[in-house]
Protein backbone atom coordinates (compact mmCIF):
# COMPACT_ATOMS: atom_id res chain seq x y z
CA UNK A 1 0.00 0.00 0.00
CA UNK A 2 1.33 3.43 -0.94
CA UNK A 3 2.49 5.84 1.73
CA UNK A 4 -0.14 8.40 0.75
CA UNK A 5 -2.98 5.90 1.21
CA UNK A 6 -1.62 5.09 4.66
CA UNK A 7 -1.34 8.81 5.39
CA UNK A 8 -4.96 9.38 4.38
CA UNK A 9 -6.12 6.45 6.50
CA UNK A 10 -4.12 7.65 9.49
CA UNK A 11 -5.55 11.14 9.10
CA UNK A 12 -9.04 9.66 8.91
CA UNK A 13 -8.45 7.83 12.17
CA UNK A 14 -7.20 11.03 13.83
CA UNK A 15 -10.22 12.91 12.51
CA UNK A 16 -12.72 10.32 13.69
CA UNK A 17 -11.04 10.12 17.10
CA UNK A 18 -11.09 13.91 17.49
CA UNK A 19 -14.76 14.10 16.54
CA UNK A 20 -15.64 11.14 18.76
CA UNK A 21 -13.88 12.84 21.67
CA UNK A 22 -15.80 16.08 21.08
CA UNK A 23 -19.06 14.21 20.54
CA UNK A 24 -18.88 12.33 23.83
CA UNK A 25 -17.65 15.42 25.65
CA UNK A 26 -20.66 17.39 24.44
CA UNK A 27 -23.02 14.57 25.34
CA UNK A 28 -21.53 14.36 28.83
CA UNK A 29 -21.81 18.11 29.37
CA UNK A 30 -25.51 18.03 28.54
CA UNK A 31 -27.96 20.93 28.41
CA UNK A 32 -27.98 23.91 30.77
CA UNK A 33 -29.95 23.50 33.96
CA UNK A 34 -32.97 25.81 33.79
CA UNK A 35 -34.81 26.54 37.03
CA UNK A 36 -37.66 28.45 35.41
CA UNK A 37 -40.96 26.67 34.81
CA UNK A 38 -40.98 25.06 31.40
CA UNK A 39 -43.42 26.73 29.01
CA UNK A 40 -43.64 24.22 26.16
CA UNK A 41 -42.86 20.79 24.74
CA UNK A 42 -39.11 20.35 24.31
CA UNK A 43 -39.35 17.03 22.46
CA UNK A 44 -41.63 18.47 19.81
CA UNK A 45 -39.53 21.64 19.54
CA UNK A 46 -36.30 19.69 19.06
CA UNK A 47 -37.94 17.54 16.40
CA UNK A 48 -39.22 20.74 14.78
CA UNK A 49 -35.73 22.24 14.93
CA UNK A 50 -34.30 19.37 12.88
CA UNK A 51 -37.16 19.20 10.41
CA UNK A 52 -39.68 21.92 9.54
CA UNK A 53 -37.55 24.76 10.92
CA UNK A 54 -34.81 23.69 8.49
CA UNK A 55 -37.06 23.94 5.45
CA UNK A 56 -36.06 26.76 3.08
CA UNK A 57 -39.43 28.50 3.41
CA UNK A 58 -38.83 28.92 7.15
CA UNK A 59 -35.39 30.52 6.97
CA UNK A 60 -34.45 33.83 5.44
CA UNK A 61 -30.92 32.48 5.03
CA UNK A 62 -32.49 30.12 2.50
CA UNK A 63 -35.44 31.84 0.85
CA UNK A 64 -33.78 35.23 0.49
CA UNK A 65 -30.68 33.63 -1.01
CA UNK A 66 -31.98 30.74 -3.07
CA UNK A 67 -29.07 30.46 -5.54
CA UNK A 68 -26.50 30.48 -2.72
CA UNK A 69 -28.65 28.14 -0.66
CA UNK A 70 -29.02 25.70 -3.55
CA UNK A 71 -25.30 25.89 -4.33
CA UNK A 72 -24.49 25.27 -0.68
CA UNK A 73 -26.81 22.29 -0.44
CA UNK A 74 -25.38 20.70 -3.60
CA UNK A 75 -21.86 21.46 -2.42
CA UNK A 76 -22.57 19.72 0.89
CA UNK A 77 -23.97 16.72 -0.98
CA UNK A 78 -20.73 16.63 -2.94
CA UNK A 79 -18.77 16.55 0.31
CA UNK A 80 -20.79 13.67 1.71
CA UNK A 81 -20.58 11.84 -1.61
CA UNK A 82 -16.79 12.30 -1.61
CA UNK A 83 -16.50 11.06 1.96
CA UNK A 84 -18.55 7.97 1.14
CA UNK A 85 -16.50 7.51 -2.01
CA UNK A 86 -13.28 7.61 0.00
CA UNK A 87 -14.57 4.72 2.09
CA UNK A 88 -15.51 2.76 -1.03
CA UNK A 89 -12.17 3.49 -2.69
CA UNK A 90 -10.22 2.28 0.34
CA UNK A 91 -12.29 -0.91 0.62
CA UNK A 92 -11.97 -1.63 -3.10
CA UNK A 93 -8.26 -0.91 -2.86
CA UNK A 94 -7.91 -3.51 -0.14
CA UNK A 95 -10.04 -5.95 -2.09
CA UNK A 96 -8.18 -5.23 -5.31
CA UNK A 97 -11.44 -4.55 -7.15
CA UNK A 98 -12.11 -1.69 -9.54
CA UNK A 99 -15.35 0.28 -9.85
CA UNK A 100 -17.26 0.03 -13.14
CA UNK A 101 -16.31 2.80 -15.56
CA UNK A 102 -19.92 3.96 -15.95
CA UNK A 103 -20.35 4.49 -12.22
CA UNK A 104 -16.96 6.19 -12.08
CA UNK A 105 -17.97 8.56 -14.85
CA UNK A 106 -21.34 9.43 -13.33
CA UNK A 107 -19.89 10.12 -9.90
CA UNK A 108 -17.01 12.09 -11.40
CA UNK A 109 -19.42 14.22 -13.41
CA UNK A 110 -21.46 14.96 -10.28
CA UNK A 111 -18.33 15.84 -8.34
CA UNK A 112 -17.08 18.14 -11.07
CA UNK A 113 -20.33 20.05 -10.72
CA UNK A 114 -20.22 20.16 -6.91
CA UNK A 115 -16.57 21.24 -6.90
CA UNK A 116 -17.37 23.97 -9.43
CA UNK A 117 -20.00 25.21 -7.00
CA UNK A 118 -17.39 25.02 -4.23
CA UNK A 119 -15.10 27.28 -6.24
CA UNK A 120 -18.00 29.63 -6.91
CA UNK A 121 -18.70 29.87 -3.17
CA UNK A 122 -15.00 30.48 -2.56
CA UNK A 123 -14.85 33.24 -5.17
CA UNK A 124 -17.96 34.82 -3.69
CA UNK A 125 -16.25 34.87 -0.31
CA UNK A 126 -13.19 36.49 -1.85
CA UNK A 127 -15.03 39.28 -3.65
CA UNK A 128 -18.12 40.12 -1.59
CA UNK A 129 -17.40 42.85 0.92
CA UNK A 130 -19.59 41.45 3.73
CA UNK A 131 -18.06 38.00 3.38
CA UNK A 132 -14.50 39.28 3.14
CA UNK A 133 -15.05 41.18 6.37
CA UNK A 134 -16.08 38.11 8.35
CA UNK A 135 -13.61 35.72 6.71
CA UNK A 136 -10.23 34.60 7.91
CA UNK A 137 -7.68 32.00 6.85
CA UNK A 138 -9.82 29.17 8.22
CA UNK A 139 -12.70 30.08 5.91
CA UNK A 140 -10.52 29.97 2.80
CA UNK A 141 -8.59 26.89 3.88
CA UNK A 142 -11.75 24.96 4.77
CA UNK A 143 -13.50 25.90 1.58
CA UNK A 144 -10.49 25.23 -0.61
CA UNK A 145 -9.63 21.88 0.97
CA UNK A 146 -13.21 20.64 0.73
CA UNK A 147 -13.53 21.79 -2.86
CA UNK A 148 -10.21 20.25 -3.87
CA UNK A 149 -11.22 17.05 -2.11
CA UNK A 150 -14.27 16.84 -4.35
CA UNK A 151 -12.34 17.80 -7.47
CA UNK A 152 -9.53 15.33 -6.83
CA UNK A 153 -12.07 12.61 -6.03
CA UNK A 154 -13.56 13.17 -9.47
CA UNK A 155 -10.14 13.27 -11.12
CA UNK A 156 -9.01 10.12 -9.37
CA UNK A 157 -12.04 8.23 -10.65
CA UNK A 158 -11.15 9.13 -14.21
CA UNK A 159 -7.37 9.34 -13.95
CA UNK A 160 -6.14 6.92 -11.26
CA UNK A 161 -2.65 8.30 -11.81
CA UNK A 162 -3.69 11.32 -9.77
CA UNK A 163 -3.95 9.06 -6.73
CA UNK A 164 -1.18 10.75 -4.78
CA UNK A 165 -2.82 14.13 -5.20
CA UNK A 166 -6.17 12.71 -4.10
CA UNK A 167 -4.93 10.90 -1.00
CA UNK A 168 -2.68 13.74 0.16
CA UNK A 169 -5.54 16.21 -0.21
CA UNK A 170 -7.84 13.80 1.65
CA UNK A 171 -5.30 13.47 4.46
CA UNK A 172 -5.00 17.24 4.79
CA UNK A 173 -8.76 17.61 4.84
CA UNK A 174 -9.16 15.00 7.56
CA UNK A 175 -6.51 16.69 9.67
CA UNK A 176 -8.09 20.11 9.18
CA UNK A 177 -11.67 19.02 9.82
CA UNK A 178 -11.61 18.95 13.64
CA UNK A 179 -9.49 22.12 13.75
CA UNK A 180 -11.18 24.49 11.33
CA UNK A 181 -14.78 25.42 10.76
CA UNK A 182 -15.57 22.13 9.04
CA UNK A 183 -16.12 20.90 12.56
CA UNK A 184 -19.63 22.26 12.15
CA UNK A 185 -20.19 18.77 10.78
CA UNK A 186 -20.57 17.83 14.45
CA UNK A 187 -21.61 21.12 16.06
CA UNK A 188 -24.43 21.73 13.60
CA UNK A 189 -26.46 18.90 15.14
CA UNK A 190 -25.83 20.09 18.69
CA UNK A 191 -26.66 23.67 17.74
CA UNK A 192 -30.00 22.58 16.28
CA UNK A 193 -30.66 20.58 19.44
CA UNK A 194 -29.92 23.51 21.74
CA UNK A 195 -32.03 25.84 19.63
CA UNK A 196 -34.97 23.43 19.72
CA UNK A 197 -34.48 23.00 23.46
CA UNK A 198 -34.41 26.76 24.06
CA UNK A 199 -37.46 27.57 21.93
CA UNK A 200 -39.25 24.51 23.28
CA UNK A 201 -38.67 25.55 26.88
CA UNK A 202 -40.05 29.00 26.11
CA UNK A 203 -43.02 27.65 24.16
CA UNK A 204 -41.98 29.36 20.92
CA UNK A 205 -41.50 26.21 18.85
CA UNK A 206 -43.07 24.32 17.23
CA UNK A 207 -44.71 27.18 15.37
Amino acid sequence: MSWYIIAALAAAVVCIAAFAFQFFKLLKMGVPEDLSDKGGDIGKAVAYSYTKAMMPQHKESAYLHLPTYAAGMIYHMGTFLSLALFLVIVILNFAGVEMPVVINSVIAALLFITSALGFAILIKRMVKEELKFISGADDYISNLLTTLFQLFSALYLIFPATGMLYFVCTALLFLWMPVGKIKHLLYFFFARYHLGYFYGWRGTWPE
Binding site: V31, H65, F133, I134
Partner: protein, 435 residues
Amino acid sequence: MKVLDKELKKKAINLLKNESDSKLITHLNACVRCGLCADSCMFYLAHKEPQYTPAAKVAMVSSLYRRYCTYAGKMAPALVNAKELDEEYAEKMVDMLFGGCTMCGRCVKHCSIGVDISYLVKKGREMLATMNMVPATLQSTVDAAVNTGNNMAIPVEEFTETIKWLESDLIDEMEDPEARIPLDETDKELFYTLNPREPKFFPLSISAMAKVFYAAKANWTLSSKYYDVTNYGYFNANNAEATIIAKNLYDEIHKLRGKKLILGECGHGSRANRWEGPNYLKKKYDFETLTAVELIGDYIRKGTITLDKSLNKQVCTIHDPCNLIRNGGMFKEIRFIVNSSVENLVEMDPYGNDNYCCGGGGGMLAMSEYNDRRLKIGKIKADQITATGAKIVITPCHNCVDQLLQINHTYKLGVRIMTISEIVADALVINNKTK
Protein backbone atom coordinates in the same frame (compact mmCIF):
# COMPACT_ATOMS: atom_id res chain seq x y z
CA MET B 1 -8.74 54.32 25.48
CA LYS B 2 -9.27 52.40 28.69
CA VAL B 3 -6.38 50.11 29.70
CA LEU B 4 -7.50 46.56 30.35
CA ASP B 5 -6.88 45.27 33.82
CA LYS B 6 -5.02 41.97 33.48
CA GLU B 7 -6.95 40.22 36.22
CA LEU B 8 -10.31 41.37 34.88
CA LYS B 9 -9.30 40.35 31.38
CA LYS B 10 -8.44 36.90 32.68
CA LYS B 11 -11.80 36.70 34.44
CA ALA B 12 -13.57 37.76 31.27
CA ILE B 13 -11.81 35.10 29.21
CA ASN B 14 -12.61 32.50 31.83
CA LEU B 15 -16.29 33.06 31.06
CA LEU B 16 -15.64 31.34 27.74
CA LYS B 17 -14.18 28.34 29.47
CA ASN B 18 -17.43 27.46 31.21
CA GLU B 19 -17.97 23.78 30.55
CA SER B 20 -20.87 23.20 32.91
CA ASP B 21 -23.03 22.43 29.89
CA SER B 22 -22.57 22.08 26.15
CA LYS B 23 -24.56 25.12 24.99
CA LEU B 24 -21.76 27.67 25.05
CA ILE B 25 -19.09 25.47 23.49
CA THR B 26 -21.56 24.34 20.82
CA HIS B 27 -22.54 27.81 19.68
CA LEU B 28 -18.96 29.07 19.87
CA ASN B 29 -17.93 26.36 17.42
CA ALA B 30 -20.93 26.22 15.12
CA CYS B 31 -20.81 29.39 13.00
CA VAL B 32 -19.48 28.84 9.46
CA ARG B 33 -19.52 32.54 8.55
CA CYS B 34 -21.75 31.99 5.54
CA GLY B 35 -22.98 35.55 6.07
CA LEU B 36 -26.55 34.65 5.14
CA CYS B 37 -27.70 36.03 8.49
CA ALA B 38 -26.97 39.60 7.35
CA ASP B 39 -30.38 40.21 5.82
CA SER B 40 -32.14 39.09 9.01
CA CYS B 41 -30.49 41.83 11.07
CA MET B 42 -32.06 45.28 11.16
CA PHE B 43 -28.69 46.90 11.96
CA TYR B 44 -27.25 45.48 8.77
CA LEU B 45 -30.35 46.29 6.75
CA ALA B 46 -30.30 49.89 7.96
CA HIS B 47 -26.57 50.50 7.63
CA LYS B 48 -25.37 48.01 4.99
CA GLU B 49 -22.00 47.82 6.71
CA PRO B 50 -20.32 44.43 7.16
CA GLN B 51 -19.50 44.86 10.85
CA TYR B 52 -23.23 44.71 11.59
CA THR B 53 -23.72 41.21 10.20
CA PRO B 54 -24.65 38.85 13.03
CA ALA B 55 -21.77 36.56 12.01
CA ALA B 56 -19.34 39.43 12.65
CA LYS B 57 -20.76 39.83 16.16
CA VAL B 58 -20.46 36.10 16.79
CA ALA B 59 -16.87 36.28 15.57
CA MET B 60 -16.08 39.01 18.11
CA VAL B 61 -16.68 36.45 20.85
CA SER B 62 -15.74 33.18 19.16
CA SER B 63 -12.38 34.58 17.96
CA LEU B 64 -11.45 35.11 21.60
CA TYR B 65 -12.62 31.63 22.46
CA ARG B 66 -10.38 30.19 19.76
CA ARG B 67 -7.43 32.33 20.83
CA TYR B 68 -7.54 31.53 24.53
CA CYS B 69 -9.43 28.25 24.81
CA THR B 70 -8.25 26.06 21.90
CA TYR B 71 -4.87 24.53 21.13
CA ALA B 72 -5.03 25.59 17.49
CA GLY B 73 -5.78 29.18 18.49
CA LYS B 74 -2.92 29.26 20.95
CA MET B 75 -0.42 27.80 18.48
CA ALA B 76 -1.52 29.26 15.15
CA PRO B 77 -4.08 32.01 15.80
CA ALA B 78 -3.94 33.42 12.27
CA LEU B 79 -4.92 30.08 10.78
CA VAL B 80 -8.12 29.66 12.78
CA ASN B 81 -9.36 33.26 12.97
CA ALA B 82 -8.30 33.68 16.60
CA LYS B 83 -7.96 37.22 17.93
CA GLU B 84 -6.13 38.87 20.79
CA LEU B 85 -8.20 40.68 23.41
CA ASP B 86 -6.63 44.11 23.73
CA GLU B 87 -7.97 47.60 24.38
CA GLU B 88 -8.85 48.30 20.77
CA TYR B 89 -10.63 44.97 20.39
CA ALA B 90 -12.58 45.50 23.61
CA GLU B 91 -13.72 48.95 22.41
CA LYS B 92 -14.98 47.40 19.19
CA MET B 93 -16.82 44.80 21.24
CA VAL B 94 -18.55 47.55 23.21
CA ASP B 95 -19.59 49.32 20.04
CA MET B 96 -20.94 46.19 18.33
CA LEU B 97 -22.26 44.06 21.19
CA PHE B 98 -23.88 46.92 23.12
CA GLY B 99 -24.43 49.45 20.35
CA GLY B 100 -24.87 47.20 17.34
CA CYS B 101 -27.24 44.50 18.56
CA THR B 102 -30.45 44.47 20.58
CA MET B 103 -30.23 40.70 21.17
CA CYS B 104 -33.64 40.42 19.54
CA GLY B 105 -32.73 36.96 18.26
CA ARG B 106 -34.27 37.41 14.82
CA CYS B 107 -31.05 36.21 13.19
CA VAL B 108 -31.04 33.12 15.41
CA LYS B 109 -34.26 31.77 13.97
CA HIS B 110 -33.01 32.36 10.43
CA CYS B 111 -29.41 31.18 10.89
CA SER B 112 -28.56 28.43 8.41
CA ILE B 113 -26.94 26.45 11.22
CA GLY B 114 -28.96 27.42 14.28
CA VAL B 115 -26.32 29.39 16.15
CA ASP B 116 -27.80 31.21 19.13
CA ILE B 117 -26.27 34.52 18.14
CA SER B 118 -27.96 36.64 20.80
CA TYR B 119 -26.77 34.20 23.46
CA LEU B 120 -23.19 34.71 22.28
CA VAL B 121 -23.65 38.48 22.12
CA LYS B 122 -24.90 38.33 25.70
CA LYS B 123 -21.82 36.29 26.63
CA GLY B 124 -19.67 39.00 25.03
CA ARG B 125 -21.53 41.61 27.07
CA GLU B 126 -20.84 39.55 30.18
CA MET B 127 -17.15 39.66 29.34
CA LEU B 128 -17.31 43.45 28.95
CA ALA B 129 -19.25 43.78 32.20
CA THR B 130 -16.53 41.75 33.91
CA MET B 131 -13.97 44.22 32.59
CA ASN B 132 -16.11 47.19 33.76
CA MET B 133 -16.74 48.24 30.19
CA VAL B 134 -20.52 48.61 30.20
CA PRO B 135 -21.50 51.96 28.59
CA ALA B 136 -21.93 54.47 31.42
CA THR B 137 -25.45 55.40 30.32
CA LEU B 138 -26.67 51.83 30.59
CA GLN B 139 -24.77 51.26 33.80
CA SER B 140 -26.41 54.28 35.42
CA THR B 141 -29.84 52.75 34.75
CA VAL B 142 -28.73 49.55 36.46
CA ASP B 143 -27.20 51.51 39.33
CA ALA B 144 -30.48 53.35 39.85
CA ALA B 145 -32.37 50.06 40.11
CA VAL B 146 -29.81 48.55 42.46
CA ASN B 147 -29.63 51.62 44.70
CA THR B 148 -33.24 52.78 44.77
CA GLY B 149 -35.33 49.76 43.82
CA ASN B 150 -36.43 51.12 40.45
CA ASN B 151 -34.53 52.09 37.34
CA MET B 152 -35.86 55.67 37.27
CA ALA B 153 -35.00 56.30 40.91
CA ILE B 154 -38.57 57.38 41.68
CA PRO B 155 -38.85 58.08 45.43
CA VAL B 156 -41.44 56.02 47.31
CA GLU B 157 -43.37 59.18 48.29
CA GLU B 158 -43.67 60.33 44.69
CA PHE B 159 -44.81 56.90 43.56
CA THR B 160 -47.34 56.63 46.38
CA GLU B 161 -48.78 60.04 45.53
CA THR B 162 -49.13 59.08 41.88
CA ILE B 163 -50.95 55.89 42.80
CA LYS B 164 -53.29 57.69 45.20
CA TRP B 165 -54.10 60.24 42.51
CA LEU B 166 -54.78 57.45 40.01
CA GLU B 167 -56.94 55.64 42.55
CA SER B 168 -59.02 58.76 43.07
CA ASP B 169 -59.50 59.01 39.28
CA LEU B 170 -60.49 55.35 39.15
CA ILE B 171 -63.14 55.90 41.84
CA ASP B 172 -64.56 58.78 39.83
CA GLU B 173 -64.51 56.91 36.55
CA MET B 174 -66.00 53.72 37.95
CA GLU B 175 -68.43 55.72 40.08
CA ASP B 176 -67.58 53.32 42.84
CA PRO B 177 -65.94 54.39 46.11
CA GLU B 178 -64.76 50.80 46.54
CA ALA B 179 -62.55 50.95 43.41
CA ARG B 180 -58.95 50.52 44.51
CA ILE B 181 -55.32 50.58 43.49
CA PRO B 182 -54.01 48.73 46.53
CA LEU B 183 -50.54 49.44 47.84
CA ASP B 184 -48.45 47.17 50.08
CA GLU B 185 -51.38 44.93 51.00
CA THR B 186 -50.59 41.46 52.26
CA ASP B 187 -51.97 38.02 51.34
CA LYS B 188 -53.23 39.12 47.93
CA GLU B 189 -53.67 36.73 45.03
CA LEU B 190 -51.81 38.94 42.58
CA PHE B 191 -48.62 40.89 43.17
CA TYR B 192 -48.54 43.27 40.23
CA THR B 193 -45.45 44.98 38.87
CA LEU B 194 -44.84 48.00 36.63
CA ASN B 195 -42.29 49.45 34.33
CA PRO B 196 -41.18 52.66 36.15
CA ARG B 197 -41.91 54.55 32.94
CA GLU B 198 -45.58 54.06 33.82
CA PRO B 199 -45.70 56.10 37.03
CA LYS B 200 -43.18 58.55 35.57
CA PHE B 201 -44.55 59.15 32.06
CA PHE B 202 -47.55 56.93 31.34
CA PRO B 203 -49.74 56.84 34.47
CA LEU B 204 -52.83 56.14 32.36
CA SER B 205 -51.33 52.78 31.58
CA ILE B 206 -51.55 51.95 35.29
CA SER B 207 -55.14 53.21 35.30
CA ALA B 208 -55.95 50.93 32.37
CA MET B 209 -54.67 47.85 34.17
CA ALA B 210 -56.40 48.95 37.37
CA LYS B 211 -59.63 49.12 35.39
CA VAL B 212 -59.05 45.57 34.12
CA PHE B 213 -58.42 44.42 37.69
CA TYR B 214 -61.55 46.26 38.82
CA ALA B 215 -63.63 44.57 36.12
CA ALA B 216 -62.14 41.20 37.05
CA LYS B 217 -62.75 41.87 40.77
CA ALA B 218 -59.12 40.89 41.22
CA ASN B 219 -57.50 40.47 44.57
CA TRP B 220 -54.26 42.36 43.91
CA THR B 221 -51.64 44.74 45.20
CA LEU B 222 -48.69 46.83 44.18
CA SER B 223 -45.65 47.41 46.33
CA SER B 224 -44.71 51.01 46.98
CA LYS B 225 -41.00 50.16 47.05
CA TYR B 226 -40.33 47.17 44.80
CA TYR B 227 -42.68 47.26 41.84
CA ASP B 228 -40.10 47.56 39.05
CA VAL B 229 -40.53 44.72 36.57
CA THR B 230 -37.51 45.77 34.50
CA ASN B 231 -34.08 44.32 34.96
CA TYR B 232 -31.42 46.19 33.04
CA GLY B 233 -28.96 43.84 34.65
CA TYR B 234 -30.05 41.49 31.88
CA PHE B 235 -28.85 44.05 29.34
CA ASN B 236 -25.62 45.14 30.98
CA ALA B 237 -25.01 41.40 31.52
CA ASN B 238 -23.66 41.89 35.01
CA ASN B 239 -25.24 38.81 36.52
CA ALA B 240 -24.52 39.88 40.10
CA GLU B 241 -26.49 43.08 39.56
CA ALA B 242 -29.23 41.27 37.67
CA THR B 243 -29.54 38.93 40.64
CA ILE B 244 -29.91 41.81 43.10
CA ILE B 245 -32.68 43.33 40.99
CA ALA B 246 -34.49 40.01 40.52
CA LYS B 247 -34.19 39.34 44.25
CA ASN B 248 -35.96 42.62 45.04
CA LEU B 249 -39.18 41.32 43.54
CA TYR B 250 -38.64 37.82 44.91
CA ASP B 251 -38.23 39.13 48.45
CA GLU B 252 -41.08 41.62 48.16
CA ILE B 253 -43.66 39.08 47.04
CA HIS B 254 -42.63 36.94 50.00
CA LYS B 255 -42.81 39.90 52.36
CA LEU B 256 -46.32 40.72 51.20
CA ARG B 257 -47.23 37.02 50.98
CA GLY B 258 -48.46 37.37 47.39
CA LYS B 259 -49.51 34.22 45.54
CA LYS B 260 -48.72 35.10 41.94
CA LEU B 261 -46.15 37.45 40.49
CA ILE B 262 -47.77 39.34 37.62
CA LEU B 263 -45.24 40.88 35.29
CA GLY B 264 -46.31 44.25 33.91
CA GLU B 265 -46.10 44.98 30.23
CA CYS B 266 -42.38 44.90 29.65
CA GLY B 267 -40.67 42.51 27.26
CA HIS B 268 -37.24 42.20 28.79
CA GLY B 269 -38.69 42.53 32.32
CA SER B 270 -40.91 39.55 31.62
CA ARG B 271 -37.96 37.63 30.26
CA ALA B 272 -35.68 38.60 33.13
CA ASN B 273 -38.20 37.52 35.75
CA ARG B 274 -40.11 34.69 34.11
CA TRP B 275 -37.21 32.87 32.45
CA GLU B 276 -33.97 34.22 33.84
CA GLY B 277 -34.99 35.14 37.40
CA PRO B 278 -34.93 31.65 38.93
CA ASN B 279 -31.57 31.06 37.27
CA TYR B 280 -30.15 34.31 38.62
CA LEU B 281 -31.31 33.37 42.10
CA LYS B 282 -30.36 29.72 41.57
CA LYS B 283 -33.68 28.44 42.88
CA LYS B 284 -37.09 27.54 41.60
CA TYR B 285 -39.70 30.14 42.43
CA ASP B 286 -42.28 28.99 44.97
CA PHE B 287 -44.94 31.20 43.40
CA GLU B 288 -46.44 31.32 39.95
CA THR B 289 -45.02 33.91 37.54
CA LEU B 290 -47.33 35.19 34.83
CA THR B 291 -47.11 38.01 32.34
CA ALA B 292 -49.94 40.55 32.27
CA VAL B 293 -50.66 39.24 28.79
CA GLU B 294 -51.31 35.73 30.11
CA LEU B 295 -53.42 37.05 32.98
CA ILE B 296 -55.63 39.15 30.72
CA GLY B 297 -55.92 36.28 28.25
CA ASP B 298 -57.05 34.07 31.10
CA TYR B 299 -59.63 36.66 32.22
CA ILE B 300 -61.10 36.81 28.71
CA ARG B 301 -61.08 33.04 28.25
CA LYS B 302 -62.84 32.43 31.57
CA GLY B 303 -65.33 35.24 31.08
CA THR B 304 -63.98 37.07 34.12
CA ILE B 305 -64.02 40.25 32.07
CA THR B 306 -66.36 41.13 29.22
CA LEU B 307 -65.15 42.97 26.15
CA ASP B 308 -66.97 44.73 23.36
CA LYS B 309 -64.62 44.95 20.42
CA SER B 310 -66.91 47.36 18.61
CA LEU B 311 -65.58 49.97 21.03
CA ASN B 312 -62.23 49.77 19.23
CA LYS B 313 -63.14 50.39 15.62
CA GLN B 314 -59.90 51.87 14.30
CA VAL B 315 -57.47 49.76 12.29
CA CYS B 316 -54.93 48.26 14.68
CA THR B 317 -51.68 46.42 14.26
CA ILE B 318 -49.47 44.58 16.73
CA HIS B 319 -45.81 45.17 17.35
CA ASP B 320 -44.43 41.90 18.75
CA PRO B 321 -41.82 42.50 21.46
CA CYS B 322 -38.91 40.12 20.87
CA ASN B 323 -38.61 39.04 24.48
CA LEU B 324 -42.29 38.19 24.77
CA ILE B 325 -42.84 36.58 21.39
CA ARG B 326 -39.74 35.05 19.83
CA ASN B 327 -38.09 34.55 23.19
CA GLY B 328 -41.19 34.13 25.30
CA GLY B 329 -43.77 32.10 23.38
CA MET B 330 -46.61 34.67 23.64
CA PHE B 331 -47.43 34.85 19.94
CA LYS B 332 -50.89 33.25 20.08
CA GLU B 333 -51.88 34.75 23.43
CA ILE B 334 -51.36 38.32 22.27
CA ARG B 335 -53.41 37.69 19.14
CA PHE B 336 -56.17 36.12 21.18
CA ILE B 337 -56.42 39.23 23.37
CA VAL B 338 -56.18 41.74 20.55
CA ASN B 339 -58.69 39.87 18.42
CA SER B 340 -61.04 39.92 21.41
CA SER B 341 -60.56 43.66 21.86
CA VAL B 342 -60.51 45.27 18.43
CA GLU B 343 -62.62 45.01 15.31
CA ASN B 344 -59.93 45.41 12.72
CA LEU B 345 -56.48 43.92 13.13
CA VAL B 346 -53.95 44.10 10.30
CA GLU B 347 -50.70 42.23 10.80
CA MET B 348 -47.32 43.66 9.93
CA ASP B 349 -45.15 41.92 7.38
CA PRO B 350 -43.32 40.02 8.76
CA TYR B 351 -44.94 39.49 12.14
CA GLY B 352 -44.95 37.17 15.14
CA ASN B 353 -41.77 35.19 15.62
CA ASP B 354 -40.33 36.81 12.50
CA ASN B 355 -41.14 40.37 13.47
CA TYR B 356 -38.42 43.00 13.54
CA CYS B 357 -37.34 44.47 16.85
CA CYS B 358 -38.51 48.07 17.32
CA GLY B 359 -34.88 49.04 17.79
CA GLY B 360 -35.23 50.00 21.43
CA GLY B 361 -34.38 46.58 22.88
CA GLY B 362 -31.13 45.35 24.36
CA GLY B 363 -30.79 48.46 26.49
CA MET B 364 -30.56 50.72 23.42
CA LEU B 365 -33.07 53.17 24.87
CA ALA B 366 -30.84 53.71 27.87
CA MET B 367 -27.70 54.27 25.78
CA SER B 368 -28.13 57.79 24.43
CA GLU B 369 -24.80 57.62 22.59
CA TYR B 370 -26.50 55.29 20.11
CA ASN B 371 -29.63 57.40 19.59
CA ASP B 372 -28.95 58.09 15.91
CA ARG B 373 -28.29 54.43 15.25
CA ARG B 374 -31.43 53.44 17.15
CA LEU B 375 -33.66 55.76 15.20
CA LYS B 376 -32.08 54.72 11.92
CA ILE B 377 -32.86 51.05 12.52
CA GLY B 378 -36.33 52.13 13.65
CA LYS B 379 -37.08 53.08 10.04
CA ILE B 380 -37.70 49.40 9.32
CA LYS B 381 -40.44 49.32 11.95
CA ALA B 382 -41.79 52.65 10.72
CA ASP B 383 -42.13 51.25 7.20
CA GLN B 384 -43.79 48.11 8.55
CA ILE B 385 -46.35 50.20 10.45
CA THR B 386 -47.05 52.46 7.47
CA ALA B 387 -47.66 49.46 5.23
CA THR B 388 -50.43 48.18 7.51
CA GLY B 389 -52.41 51.42 7.29
CA ALA B 390 -53.10 51.06 11.02
CA LYS B 391 -54.01 53.98 13.22
CA ILE B 392 -53.15 52.19 16.45
CA VAL B 393 -50.06 50.13 17.22
CA ILE B 394 -50.55 47.75 20.13
CA THR B 395 -47.59 46.38 22.02
CA PRO B 396 -47.29 44.83 25.49
CA CYS B 397 -43.93 46.41 26.28
CA HIS B 398 -43.17 49.87 27.64
CA ASN B 399 -39.66 49.90 26.19
CA CYS B 400 -41.18 49.22 22.78
CA VAL B 401 -43.79 51.92 23.47
CA ASP B 402 -40.99 54.43 24.07
CA GLN B 403 -39.14 53.53 20.90
CA LEU B 404 -42.37 53.44 18.88
CA LEU B 405 -43.31 56.90 20.16
CA GLN B 406 -39.95 58.21 18.98
CA ILE B 407 -40.31 56.44 15.63
CA ASN B 408 -43.82 57.86 15.35
CA HIS B 409 -42.44 61.35 15.89
CA THR B 410 -39.31 60.96 13.75
CA TYR B 411 -41.00 59.38 10.73
CA LYS B 412 -44.31 61.26 11.18
CA LEU B 413 -46.44 58.14 11.21
CA GLY B 414 -49.44 59.73 12.90
CA VAL B 415 -50.36 56.60 14.83
CA ARG B 416 -51.31 56.01 18.43
CA ILE B 417 -49.22 53.59 20.49
CA MET B 418 -51.11 51.55 23.08
CA THR B 419 -50.37 48.75 25.47
CA ILE B 420 -52.46 45.59 25.74
CA SER B 421 -54.09 46.72 28.99
CA GLU B 422 -54.97 50.08 27.42
CA ILE B 423 -56.67 48.55 24.40
CA VAL B 424 -58.44 45.99 26.61
CA ALA B 425 -59.55 48.70 29.05
CA ASP B 426 -61.07 50.63 26.13
CA ALA B 427 -63.14 47.58 25.23
CA LEU B 428 -64.27 46.76 28.77
CA VAL B 429 -67.91 46.36 29.62
CA ILE B 430 -68.35 46.79 33.37
CA ASN B 431 -71.75 46.29 34.98
CA ASN B 432 -73.26 46.35 31.49
CA LYS B 433 -71.76 49.76 30.89
CA THR B 434 -68.85 50.63 28.64
CA LYS B 435 -66.04 52.46 30.37
